[in-house]
């Protein structure tokens, strides 16, 4: 997809977002009856939504004016493959973060960190050598516990279901 088309889609996406924002602000922000005139609690959210809409239109207009002065078109499927690879990696990483947060709430910091680090090393980074796996997993887990929990005094979550007391 060339640059102009790319920008057109981005502009369109942002325009839709600004319209959704407008709908949310008008429906979910109540203005107290005591406010008679002048700016109220809706004014700035509405104004910013309007600004976003205006800039999105500007982006779309600019992409149309620039037209499709194309650069050399890709001759292979590499960009499409990269797109799916990026999509998978993004899903993986975000999924790992959600998983890490969720099991930390259930089982506490130490267990969650051990499991999550192991999962990433094996699943994402393809580390299979047992010694390397154990060394990195334990090193990162215990290291972060000592630095955050002991040295910096940060409260590390205990689990709701299981708490190994660290």
């Amino acid at each position: 997809m060339d640059n102009a088309k790319h920008e057109k889609w981005i502009g369109l996406g942002l325009l839709i977002f600004s319209l959704v924002w407008y709908g949310l602000v008008t429906n979910f922000i109540e203005v107290p009856s005591s406010v008679e005139e002048g700016p109220d609690s809706r004014t700035f959210p509405l104004f910013f939504g309007f600004l976003l809409g205006a800039f999105s239109l500007l982006l779309i207009a600019r992409s149309i004016i620039q037209g499709s002065v194309t650069k050399k078109a890709p001759t292979s499927d590499e960009p499409r493959e990269n797109f799916w690879a990026e999509f998978r990696c993004a899903s993986w990483m975000l999924g790992c973060l959600v998983f890490y947060g969720y099991i930390m709430s259930l089982f506490g910091f130490m267990l969650a960190t051990l499991v999550s680090v192991l999962l990433i090393l094996v699943g994402a980074l393809k580390v299979y050598r047992p010694k390397q796996l154990i060394a990195i997993t334990l090193g990162i887990s215990i290291g972060t516990y000592l630095i955050f929990g002991k040295l910096l005094g940060i409260y590390l979550p205990l689990g709701q279901l299981l708490d190994i007391g660290m």
Binding site: I10, F28, S41, E86, C89, A90, W92, L97, M104, T144
Partner: protein, 509 residues
Amino acid sequence: MNDFIAASLMMLEPASIIAIFIGSVIGIIFGAIPGLTYTMALSMVLPLTFGISPNAAICMLLSTYIGGLTGGSLTACLIGIPGTPSAAATVVDGYAMVRKGQAGLSLGLVIMASAFGSIFSLLVMVFAVDFVAKAAVHFGPVELFSLVLFGMSLICGLSEGSIVKGLIAGTIGLMIMTIGVDDIEGVQRLTFGWTPLLQGVNLVVAMVGLFAVPHLIKTLVDFRLNKIQKHQLNDVKTQMPKFKTVKDNFGLLSYTSVIGTVIGAIPGTGGPIAAFVAYDQAKRLAKGKAKEQFGKGSVQGVLAPEAANNAVSGGAIIPLLSLGIPGDAATAVILGGLLIHGVTPGPALFTENKPLVYLIYIAFFVATVVVMLLQAYGVKFFIKLLKIPPQFLMVGIMIMCVIGTYAIRNSFFDVYTMIIIGLFGYLLLLAKIPATPVVLGLVLGPTLEKEFRTAMILSENEYSVFFTSPLAVTLYILIVVFVGMQLYADRKLKKAALEDAKSLPTVAS
């Protein structure tokens, strides 16, 4: 004098000294590793300061900032890749010196120039902050609104190529910060009944999401696509420059430090601009053989950009401390940190908490010295760290992201918010919309709205009140001029790019 002594005693507390050391190390590491930035370091370090005293927290944040500014030059010299954008100008001659077998001297020049620039800007900062803060005592909501608007308009400078996208980013930041309870009317705005959202989107959560999460995704993508570069790094012993070198280049160091300080004080600009302007100036001022050496390992080619990019630190803190307006994304994080620890920058700080102001000055100086010593004697340690594959560092950063955001309010809601914002940050990256203006919007948005509405309430809803202040009118004119200049420059660049594109063979779509 009593205030200064009180500040010195605060600095001598073990927690403050340890905080400076830890912050300096973290800053240098994040600065040195390409792909990580000192803004990211500050976002990660900020939640880690919640367990320590405000004094130690301030020391840690400042030292992370200074360490990060300097750390980028390590890799700039050793492998020809700047760790941070600010170090890009140092690559030219710093790496050339390494290729000539002068790695130790190259590092020594970087360390010395960085310390010079930081201390020079500190001296300017001490006088300028006081002066600006005294002037700002007379500022009312109209003046503050126009100042913040001026700061927001400089988003154009942070837009990395597309002003429209920069403005979009800034607007998104402003929109996000309206979520929560309205300070003036107490109305809930877009909280959907969720209690955690009553306080709005936490600034630290947003920053970790915007800077760290996209980096994690990108590292994994690079790893999977085999794009991770392996760097050849040999052990180096730092060789500090002789006194004669410093004496001969004292004028250049001072001049480029002035450049860095002034550029740093202008919100929206920063290290990269200062470094390249300084390099250009140094080249113009050089004569004869010295001029020919530029690009081939010139001593001045290393000293000039390094002094300037570090002098930015003091300059950026001038508007931060005196007016509460951050000079760049990093100082925006520092501002967030100060606010979280109950320190409100601005004129009132100088009357109500002078010892804290002195503590900031002293911490700045001590951090500069500590960073200098760490780099001089600890370069082997940093080189070892640089050899760690980025994909393994990614795992550590992932843990810091989750722990850091959890530590803000001991709430997993913040962790999940960070992930959502991280996804959003990644989409911004794909859309080539810069994240830094979003941060500016997040930080300045509440002040912008508050001062506007306060001015309206005090003037009984007369919009003309915004044109009654000479300072405000001057700033509006400057906004128009500045935005106009940026648009013109942007248009010229786009026109040139379009001409280049037209000359390429057109393929039928």
